[in-house]
């Protein structure tokens, strides 16, 4: 093979395998995203991939009960007269037998009570359903003309020009444009219901609405019964996450930047010892700190509040932040700083006016990194937060634990918890990567 051909083949192989990997990689996420827009009933009964158009066997007809043989031997092949002469075993009937005219006959259920369906393969999608009759108009009280003669046909203005007698209206009339109209009740106080056949698309925002609210909401289940449930209040949890994450990101940055500057550009006693201590703390897994901190916070009576978790996250984030900023700040050009000092600037001024702006890349990188880390954290929040202050990860885990069957809530909840990090990620990817490259030390 020529080099050019080989190169093209290589390119195809590389791009091809990369594409496959990428698709596989995103499938789980896409599945949940699609599911979050489906109704609860749909999620529980069909896979999310069925939203895409596909061919499926759907029932078009059903055999009458008397046409079904009931006294056959399940081990011996038998024929169903209404269908044809060919004999199949009971298991084969249950799996479905394809007839020459492209249809399929399938025995659903057991021998005694089952039924036989005739099925056709059609293009369908879980989105489209059978059209249903839904009430589109209700006329009551003064909206209706009540001055009519019971025996003479009359027309109802809002419906159309056709005239029907009162009895016909009461039985129900199908108009030319496909509506169903029915007068319910007597002449004086009855009402008029108008129904239309509506194509229902099974996509809904309800899941998001229900997962965000903390109040009771109503939900229709498969049989049409309406149940009242309590929403898991993800919107509150979202605000809590914000309240926890923003200070837990900004405060460590400021503490660490100050300290890093001091370590890098100042001389003072115990400088080396303190710095070694800071770096040594990188090693400590945060589980070590949890028991004593918990005890202290209980004593101070701040357990469960934001202050507790800010302290915890600031403390846990400081070693990495200080180390990162120290690396960066100590690499800043000496001459710039020295000229500022010669001009009489104090350390504070130099820090605010020079160091901070110059360190923006490092600060931005750590900022994103810490933001993601705190937002997605579960363990620390679980230990230190409680009651009204739960964050999105905790709420999501709660839904999983206590309402594991409420998948409609899970899907929407998962995305509510992910939307902000994803936005941050997409818009500030460059900084996040930089933060990773520099901060791969944090486990």
């Amino acid at each position: 093979m020529s080099t050019k051909a080989r190169n093209t083949l290589n390119q195809v192989l590389i791009n091809g395998s990369l594409t496959i990997i990428c698709i596989l990689w995103t499938i789980p996420t896409i599945g949940v995203f699609i599911s979050s827009f489906r109704t609860r009933f749909d999620i529980q009964t069909s896979g999310w991939w069925q939203v895409f158009p596909h061919r499926e066997w759907q029932m078009t007809d059903e055999l009458a009960d008397e046409d079904l043989p009931r006294d056959f031997d399940i081990d011996i092949p038998f024929a169903i007269p209404a269908v044809g002469d060919v004999e199949y075993s009971f298991d084969e009937w249950r799996e479905g037998v394809e007839t020459p005219d492209g249809k399929r006959v399938q025995w659903i259920g057991n021998k005694r009570l089952g039924r036989v369906e005739i099925q056709e393969e059609v293009w369908t999608s879980a989105l489209a359903t059978e059209p249903v009759w839904e009430q589109t108009l209700l006329l009551e009280g003064d909206d209706l003309n009540r001055e009519f003669d019971n025996d003479a046909p009359f027309a109802i203005a809002q419906v159309g020009p056709d005239e029907f007698t009162f009895d016909e209206w009461r039985e129900g009339v199908e108009t030319a444009d496909g509506k169903r109209v029915q007068w319910v009740g007597n002449k004086r106080i009855g009402r008029l219901e108008v129904q239309e056949e509506v194509d229902r698309i099974q996509l809904t925002f309800d899941n998001y609405r229900n997962v965000l609210t903390g109040k009771n909401f109503e939900i229709k289940d498969a049989e049409g019964n309406v149940k009242t449930e309590r929403g898991p209040d993800m919107s509150g949890a979202f605000l809590n996450s914000l309240a926890v994450t923003i200070p837990a990101t900004i405060i460590p940055i400021s503490f660490a930047a100050f300290a890093a500057y001091a370590f890098a550009w100042m001389r003072f006693p115990f400088r080396r010892a303190l710095f070694i201590m800071v770096v040594a703390m990188l090693v400590v897994p945060l589980q070590i700190a949890l028991i004593p901190l918990l005890r202290d916070f209980n004593g101070l009576n701040i357990n469960g509040t934001f202050l507790a978790i800010w302290l915890a996250h600031t403390g846990f984030g400081l070693p990495l932040a200080t180390y990162l900023f120290y690396n960066y700040i100590s690499a800043l050009p000496r001459e710039t700083l020295e000229s500022a000092f010669i001009d009489g600037a104090s350390h504070f001024t130099v820090f605010m006016r020079l160091i901070l702006p110059l360190s923006m890349p490092a600060i931005a990188s750590f900022c994103i990194f810490q933001f993601m880390w705190v937002w997605n954290d579960y363990l620390v929040a679980l230990i230190f937060l409680g009651g009204q202050n739960k964050v999105v990860t905790m709420r999501l885990a709660e839904i999983v634990g206590s309402r594991g069957n409420d998948w409609h809530l899970l899907t929407a909840g998962a995305f509510v918890s992910m939307i902000l990090p994803l936005i941050v990620f997409f818009s500030l990817q460059r900084y996040f990567i930089r933060g990773l490259l520099a901060g791969s030390v944090k486990g």
Partner: protein
């Protein structure tokens, strides 16, 4: 900094230049700020009490939450900024030689003090607690340690962490490396890298939920809604309970029993006690899904750092791509490989979220961190929990030290 000292005139070092007014003002403002902060703290403890004046906390929980959030953010961030500023103002007003001493500590002490308090001191205290009993009252010596290393649950947890470590780290590194190499030569490199990297933005809990939809199993007679089982059923196999978590599979009787696919595994897996651990693998897949992107990013950066001339020279000499990959590229980025591996190993030792969310109560998938949580919140055995934490510390230290050494030898930015 020695230059600044000599540049100061003699006058500046004397007491007459001290601005007592400034110092007093600074101290007064500081006291005021601290008092305000304290008031804010009181508000945050029970906010409902204070807002009933202008909104109804019960009727408008969202409004209440927004108020609290905004207040909390301003209080935390602005409060701390003001304190810093005031401290510096005081320090700047001090006589020169005092200033030299005080200023560095103003800069350094907040961070150091907080660090000592949240990480340093607790290490000592936790180690101490590990030698005491469940309520931290009586000294029990090495009893807790004995229990940790002999109890069946803990040994299972150790075995599981080992599985996570070996397979999680290896797979993440390998996949990350492969993808980084592929992406490096592909046309849509940026897009591919973004996609692979995306899961890093997702929390472990969220990832657990997402993969739940892949693993879920339904009774044979009803339609499968989990992707993996749907594929299996299409090919004529029976649906399997991949993670056997009770809360997913209410319809299937499978708690603890041997699964069909487990029965198909070879004998030696059963003998070596790895059978029960098989459930871990499906959780590890989630972990790899999350971490491979991290590995890929670092490897990609490292690969781009290999001088092109090196690779070109090898190609001119007639080396095949495989040879180049194994003999040149991998050794060149070995430092990064070590860093990435150690970081992922540490993450796998600390793994908590995935196991807790997806493997609730399932003994075969417990790990060190979940056991730790179990002891704290469920069994309430503080001594044992502390012991587990110390074990984790000891396990992590050598890896961390190795990681730090490699890290400090690389360019940070």
């Amino acid at each position: 900094m020695a230059t600044t000292a000599s540049n100061q005139s003699v006058e500046e070092r004397s007491w007459e230049r001290v601005n007592f007014g400034s110092i007093l003002l600074g101290l007064a403002l500081l006291a005021g700020t601290i008092y305000l902060l304290f008031l804010g703290f009181k508000f945050l403890q029970t906010p409902e009490v204070y807002v009933t004046g202008f909104i109804d906390p019960l009727e408008q929980p969202l409004a209440l939450k927004s108020i609290i959030t905004l207040f909390a953010i301003i209080w935390g961030v602005a409060g701390m900024a003001i304190v810093f500023y005031l401290l510096n103002m005081i320090a700047d007003a001090l006589p020169y030689y005092l200033r030299q001493y005080v200023t560095p500590y103003i800069f350094v002490l907040p961070a150091s003090a907080l660090l000592i308090y949240t990480l340093g001191l607790p290490t000592v205290r936790t180690i101490r607690t590990s030698f005491f009993d469940r309520n931290n009252e009586n000294f029990v010596g090495w009893e807790n340690y004995a229990e940790v290393f002999t109890s069946r649950i803990m040994l299972t947890a150790f075995r599981n962490n080992l599985l996570w470590l070996v397979f999680g780290a290896t797979l993440s590194v390998v996949i990350g490396l492969v993808i980084a190499t592929l992406a490096d030569r592909s046309r849509f490199e940026k897009l591919a890298k973004s996609i692979i990297f995306l899961p890093m933005a997702i929390s472990f809990v969220g990832a657990g939920v997402i993969w739940n939809f892949v693993y879920v199993v339904r009774d044979e007679s009803s339609q499968q809604i989990g992707l993996l089982n749907a594929i299996l059923v299409e090919f004529g196999f029976e649906p399997q309970a991949w993670t056997t978590t009770l809360w997913i599979n209410n319809l299937v009787e499978n708690s603890g029993g041997i699964q069909a696919w487990q029965a198909a595994l070879p004998e030696w897996l059963v003998e070596y006690g790895l059978l029960g651990g098989a459930h871990n693998f499906f959780l590890i897949v989630i972990f790899v899904w999350l971490q491979a992107g991290f590995a890929m990013v670092l490897f990609s950066a490292a690969l781009k750092g290999i001088p092109n001339e090196l690779l070109e020279a090898a190609r001119v000499d007639g080396a095949s791509e495989w040879l180049i990959f194994f003999r040149i590229m991998i050794p060149s980025i070995w430092g990064t490989i070590v860093t990435v591996s150690t970081t992922i190993i540490i993450a796998s030792l600390k793994i908590f979220d995935i196991v807790r969310v997806m493997g609730r109560g399932q003994a075969s998938t417990q790990v060190i961190a979940t056991q730790f949580y179990q002891e704290i919140n469920v069994t309430n055995n503080k001594g044992l929990a502390a012991t587990i934490a110390v074990v984790l510390l000891v396990a992590v230290i050598p890896v961390m030290i190795y990681n730090l050494r490699e890290f400090s030898q690389r360019e940070a930015f």
